[in-house]
């Protein structure tokens, strides 16, 4: 069977599985549609959360971001940021919102801050974060299809939309949860198989996490060899090259951490478990499942980087001839992810940090994961599996985000604000319609992406960190905080973060409108725009607390609500 046929079979089989699950888990009530009747086992929810969480960016791009763009150590911001957030989530957010026991994040903010304005502002913040995020997923689906199945980008995107439409509109949270569990199994298997093989080939150690610290065939440590090789080519050392400055790395890590704990599509996953205590353990299981991929990714990053360099330059000074480059290299050139330009016309490929000498002119981050199986000469079914895994990662995250968006619209805007008198059946119908329009809207944005392309996922974290997270945190831990404080704080936090990003990256990411230029010299204390969420969060906290001092304290029922959500037991006194 050819590679193309195998890929069609494997991807097709995974899609049939998702549709079968969708048909078996239709939602009949709003309770089922929004929170899967709160009946999901904590381990199962952990698995679904892991799939919800790990997007196309984690699966396809992260190893490359670490190994190439961030040159090793600098990429640690993603590893620590995107996992450390779960500790905050498990201790500071998830158990209390689970105890609160309703359906959405804006609903909590509306009730806690006794204000429809607060609810609507939260809905707007939620939509800004989630839409930025979902565009990346839709693009991921289109790209994965077009690379592996050789369809057009548009056909790929439409096929993905049909699948998501099917199980998200039919099943709501129930359908999404069970498909996410299946998708987690597909994606983790697809990630681990090539990682284990490449680790075995390089170090003889089957566990990639240990392989990263092991020796190569020539007896030198892998990381030492990589450090030395990169220094010889004019790059910085792999294990020590800092991204920007220490302050920038700390800010970036902190932004991703608190952004993680403020992203609504992750938080609502913890509404689906039966108890408060299950919400805590479920966060632990989610992190276990996420860590399988996140501790493997740095190993893949280092090993694949070394592999590529050794393919191009097997011995120092002995360069690969362009004529003799392997088949996979030619294949990926056609997709535009790899590109060579024989600048000195010697028929050899020189790879170097010096752009005057470097002849590997295009080396896309995604290549580390996508071409990994071919570089390691693994069989076709492994390559097909990577395609199915990438699609599973993108589909599962897209579905989770779409649910967060559609429930904010149908539940918070319609039922709780505009049309409080609609019946349960009407609301269920409205939530299906909202989901259908969210899928279509996301598909439209995926087909006609706005001015910005890359880096939007990291931005969504900054926005969540600066807007929703402080409102949730103070709402739980600080009884005195008032609605005026929270509303102004959320607006200030998201405003300051958007303004900072826009002034460096252009208004709505149109480059010409950037008035300070995307220059590190103009960055605030050298903090890059993607890392600015933590500053936005501090602004939010400061504004909220200051305004709170000058406004009347929250009414008695709100104080009781806070007392109630802090403790798992049902309240006996009223």
């Amino acid at each position: 069977m050819s590679l193309m046929e195998t890929t069609y079979w494997v991807v097709g089989a995974s899609f049939v599985l998702y549709i079968w699950i969708a048909i078996r888990s239709r939602a009949g009530t709003t309770q089922e549609f929004y929170v899967a009747s709160k009946g999901i086992h904590p381990v199962a929810n952990g698995m679904a959360t892991a799939a919800d969480w790990m997007s196309a960016a984690s699966f396809i791009s992260m190893a490359g971001l670490i190994g190439l763009s961030y040159n090793g150590y600098g990429g640690s911001v993603f590893l620590m940021g995107w996992t450390g957030g779960y500790v905050i989530l498990a201790m500071l957010i998830a158990p209390y919102l689970r105890k609160y026991g309703k359906f959405t994040v804006p609903e909590f903010i509306g009730d806690r801050y006794y204000s429809d304005t607060a609810r609507v502002v939260a809905v707007i913040c939620l939509i800004i974060c989630s839409v930025t995020y979902v565009i990346g997923q839709m693009k991921g689906i289109g790209v994965a299809f077009s690379r592996f199945l050789e369809t057009d980008y548009e056909t790929g995107l439409l096929s993905g939309m049909v699948i998501v439409f099917f199980y998200a509109v039919l099943g709501g949270m129930r359908g999404i949860t069970y498909t996410q569990i299946a998708q987690f199994c597909v994606l983790i298997f697809a990630y681990m198989v090539p990682a284990i093989f490449i680790s075995l080939q390089l170090t003889g150690q089957p566990i990639p996490q240990l392989g990263l610290g092991s020796t190569l065939a020539d007896g030198t440590y892998l990381l030492e060899k990589l450090d030395q090789t990169l220094l010889d080519l004019g790059f910085q050392e792999y294990t020590t090259s800092v991204r920007g400055s220490t302050l920038n790395m700390a800010a970036f890590t902190a932004s991703l951490m608190i952004g993680t704990a403020g992203l609504p599509h992750v938080i609502i996953r913890f509404f689906t478990v039966p108890t408060v205590s299950a919400a805590r353990t479920s966060a632990g299981w989610a992190l276990v499942f996420i860590a399988i991929l996140y501790t493997t990714a740095p190993a893949v990053a280092a090993m694949a980087r070394l592999n590529i360099i050794q393919t191009l330059e097997p011995q120092p000074g002995q360069h690969l001839a362009i004529e003799e480059r392997p088949e996979w290299f030619k294949n990926w050139e056609q997709t535009g992810l790899l590109g060579i330009d024989d600048k000195n016309q010697d028929g050899l490929i020189q790879y170097s940090a010096d752009s005057q000498i470097n002849e590997l002119v295009t080396l896309d981050n995604d290549i580390l994961v996508l071409a990994n199986p071919e570089i390691a000469r693994l069989p076709n079914w492994v390559i097909a599996l990577v395609a199915a895994g990438g699609l599973a990662a993108a589909l599962s995250t897209a579905a989770g985000l779409l649910l967060a968006i559609s429930s904010a619209i149908s539940h918070d805007l319609l039922k709780r604000t505009l049309l409080p008198n609609i019946s349960e059946r009407q609301e269920l119908m409205a939530s299906r319609l909202a989901m259908a329009s969210a899928v279509l809207g996301a598909g439209y944005l995926g087909l006609n992406p706005p001015g910005f392309v890359a880096g939007t996922v990291a931005l969504a974290f900054g926005l969540a960190a600066a807007s929703l997270f402080p409102a949730l945190l103070l709402g739980i831990f600080c009884k005195r905080v008032t609605r005026e404080g929270a509303v102004l704080g959320m607006l200030a936090g998201i405003g300051v973060t958007l303004a900072y990003v826009f002034q460096h990256k252009g208004v709505m990411f149109i480059p010409d409108t950037s008035f300070l230029g995307d220059l590190p010299a103009n960055w605030f204390f050298g903090i890059e725009p993607n890392a600015f969420g933590v500053v936005g969060a501090v602004v939010n906290l400061a504004v909220t607390l200051t305004v709170t001092r000058f406004t009347a304290p929250p009414p008695e029922p709100v104080q009781r609500l806070i007392d109630d959500i802090r403790v798992p037991a049902a309240t006996t006194r009223i």
Binding site: Y73, S76, M91, Q209, L212, G213, E224, A569, A570, T572
Partner: protein
């Protein structure tokens, strides 16, 4: 402690919860932003197997510690709730 009024038990619960969060939160900070970012250079002078220690914390160790922290928190809180009789009725 059935003889205490429930509001008092809830206060004890909340105080212990905050103390536990402070302890675990400190460890969380030390292993990630501490060992992984702020003190990475001195730690990198220590070599364990093929890893520089600071690099290992940033790319592996911090993540393993996070998992342990969550499960410790979940277990201690569940025990505290049983002791104080504040557990949630199973749905």
């Amino acid at each position: 402690m059935p003889e205490l009024p429930e509001s008092h038990v809830r206060q004890i619960y909340w105080r212990k919860n905050r103390r536990l969060m402070l302890v675990l939160g400190t460890i969380w900070f030390v292993v990630s932003l501490g060992c992984g970012v702020l003190w990475v250079e001195p730690l990198n002078t220590v070599q364990i197997g093929g890893f520089k220690l600071g690099f290992w914390f940033a790319q592996q160790g911090a993540i393993y510690t996070f998992i342990i922290l969550i499960f410790v928190y979940a277990r201690v809180m569940a025990r505290l709730e049983r002791q104080l009789g504040l557990q949630e009725p199973e749905a």
